[in-house]
């Protein structure tokens, strides 16, 4: 069966397809249709990967947690397993897995190479078709074991749903501590499941709205470090920071273009209104894209880079608009009750996510780029700041309750049915999802 290996990073090198010598009859293969309205999670058995120590179980537990949180899979309790896998190189006893209704079976092994690296192998079986769907192996440094697990989860997700996975990704966000009227905010980065939190700033300056570069290990964000709100670039690996440029007023609401060459942003005019500009990162030349006597902010490019969606109150209240990337032909697309802001274009191009304020509540929703098909995914006291998983199927946002506490991060899928809290060490806001790592 053809299976194409994804490109691998330097630290995870040398994946190879594993083959098990056997002949099986062709049958309809197990699959999940993510476009169905209500998705019954697929029962899947994820066995402890065989290893000399606990690392195999740790990896298979992370794989199971990723798949379960997607809402598309239901890992079966290990206690129900009949067959105990001892050799991942031979075919499993399918009857033992069918009897517990495991439609798919994941087995694996983790061993150590002579050079100290981990070698992780796994196979995905269709138990009813009695066929291997995926067999791959990965090599990585031991401290990257969670990444191996996420890559394996992505491979399973992709094979069974036909969609790209999103587990081998990270999220940059704002860590919040201290009382609400004296909040300390720090940029932080973590894996999409909340693991491996690392702080990128120290909390000396108020920092807001980080966004990932689509092409580099780089973040753009807004900071009060200079005494006025300004946009900065930060290298994630080195921690090096620089202002994006000198502006005669505040700049805020930055976001990269899909090719990573530009940052689109809001510039605060002296008269109190805000216009949208694009800055070329190599030349640092800016181009003004809007000039209304209004608030124009929160710009976000379409994935093909030809259009920009943004917030404007030029018609009186905040609404969502779409214009050409050169600022031409701005058109209002939101017409529902209330106000709309924070539009973010899906990486698939098919939808724009937004925050809607109506009836004293804040909702996260999506609509098509022409404004049709508005759907609200979640509503409450405060839900704000959607960011897309790279496959365009899941949205992360922050939620806050009334009172003196603080915001927390959540994800929700496009059905609106599968909502998950993302654990963070403290309060957290302004999440921004990375592209798939490579």
């Amino acid at each position: 069966m053809p299976h194409f290996l994804k490109p691998l990073v330097a630290m995870i090198a040398g994946a190879a397809a594993l083959a098990v010598a056997m002949v099986v009859p062709a049958q309809a293969l197990v699959e999940i249709d993510v476009n169905k309205g209500v998705i019954e999670p697929l029962p899947i058995a994820i066995t402890d990967f065989i290893s000399g120590n606990g690392i195999g179980t740790q990896i298979s537990d992370v794989v199971a947690a990723d798949l379960a949180r997607s809402g598309l899979f239901k890992p079966i309790e290990k206690g129900a397993f009949v067959e105990k896998i001892s050799n991942p190189d031979v075919a499993p006893r399918f009857a033992d897995w069918k009897v517990i209704n495991a439609q798919a079976l994941v087995i694996g092994r983790v061993s150590r190479e002579a050079d100290g690296r981990l070698r992780a192998e796994f196979r995905l079986w269709d138990t009813f078709a009695e066929q291997q769907l995926v067999g791959e192996q990965y090599f990585a440094n031991e401290n990257n074991w969670r990444r191996i697990a996420h890559i394996i989860a992505d491979a399973i997700y992709e094979r069974l749903t036909g969609e790209k996975g999103y587990f081998d990704t990270r999220v940059v966000f704002v860590d919040e501590s201290g009382p609400k009227d004296k909040r300390i905010k720090r940029l932080a980065i973590m894996d999409q499941d909340g693991a491996n939190v690392r702080y990128l700033t120290r909390g000396d300056d108020l920092v807001l709205t980080p966004r990932f570069s689509p092409t580099r290990q780089e973040v753009t964000y807004m900071s009060y470090a200079s005494g006025k709100p300004s946009i900065y670039l930060l290298q994630i690996e080195t921690g090096q920071r620089e202002p994006i440029g000198e502006f005669p007023g505040m700049t805020f609401a930055p976001r990269f273009s899909p090719d990573g060459q530009r940052v689109v942003l809001s510039f605060g005019r002296n008269d109190g209104n805000s216009n949208i500009y694009a800055m070329d990162l190599r030349s640092r030349n800016t181009q003004r894209l809007t000039e209304s006597n209004a608030i124009d902010t929160s710009p976000s490019y379409s994935p093909d880079g030809t259009q920009i969606t943004f917030t404007s109150d030029r018609a009186g209240r905040a609404q969502i608009y779409v214009m050409g990337a050169d600022g031409s032909n701005a058109k209002r697309i939101s017409f529902g009750e209330g106000t709309y802001s924070t539009p973010v274009w899906s990486p698939r191009g098919d939808l724009i996510a937004f925050t809607k304020q109506s009836g004293g509540e804040f909702s996260i929703g999506v609509m098509r780029p022409d404004g049709s098909g508005e759907r609200i995914l979640t509503t409450g006291f405060l839900n704000e700041g959607p960011t897309w998983a790279p496959n365009g199927r899941v949205i992360m946002f922050f939620r806050e309750q009334a009172g003196a506490a603080g915001p927390k991060l959540y994800s929700i899928d496009l059905t609106g049915r599968n909502e998950q809290h993302i654990p963070t060490p403290s309060f957290a806001s302004d999440p921004a999802w990375s592209p798939l790592l490579d």
């Binding site: 807001l208 609401a253 209104n273 805000s274 106000t339 700041g385």
Partner: protein, 168 residues
């Protein structure tokens, strides 16, 4: 309620309390960053000091929801501010624009900037030298009141005139 005795000397606070009373929920609201909170009363603020400005003039004005229009009560406060600032011309002035938490982050930064600019322009129209006036927006990042109802959010929709430099 001793706290209100000192506060009532601040006309801005009087306006606020009156507004709350009309809304039917005047009780038990703390007025943050007020003279009483920092242990001052009107009687011991040195004339020309920033305490004098905060306590006897009123350092802040309030806005309606999603608006940067200078209200009638705010016009009175700004008139007193302009007079005082004319009397003590050596202060540099930063006008901070703020929004309540009932808006999204980036929009509120823009809204705070608009409020600060409207306040600056109003003070300039009353004769305050525009060269002394700078503005900054904090959006919804620096609430003075932490709570979950309308009367409280109204205290966060504000522009605060902050003095720096030697006064006299």
């Amino acid at each position: 309620m001793i706290r209100f005795e000192g506060l009532a000397r601040n006309p801005a606070v009087i306006a606020l309390v009156a507004g709350l009373a009309l809304a039917g929920c005047a009780s038990k609201k703390t007025i943050p960053n007020s003279a009483a909170d920092i242990g001052l009363s009107a009687n011991n603020a040195v004339p020309g000091s920033s305490q004098d400005f905060t306590v006897n003039v009123g350092d802040r004005i309030f806005f309606d929801t999603d608006s940067s229009v200078i209200r009638a009560d705010a016009q009175q406060t700004l008139a007193r501010q302009a007079q005082w600032l004319g009397q003590y011309p050596n202060y540099a002035i930063t006008i901070e624009g703020h929004a309540d938490e009932r808006g999204t982050r980036e929009y509120n930064i823009a809204l705070g900037a608009r409020r600060a600019a409207a306040t600056r322009d109003y003070l300039a129209s009353l004769g305050v030298n525009a060269g002394r006036l700078r503005t900054i927006s904090y959006g919804k990042e620096r609430p003075v009141a932490v709570c979950d109802d309308i009367s409280c959010w109204s205290q966060n929709r504000r522009a605060v005139t902050v003095l720096s430099g030697a006064g006299s």
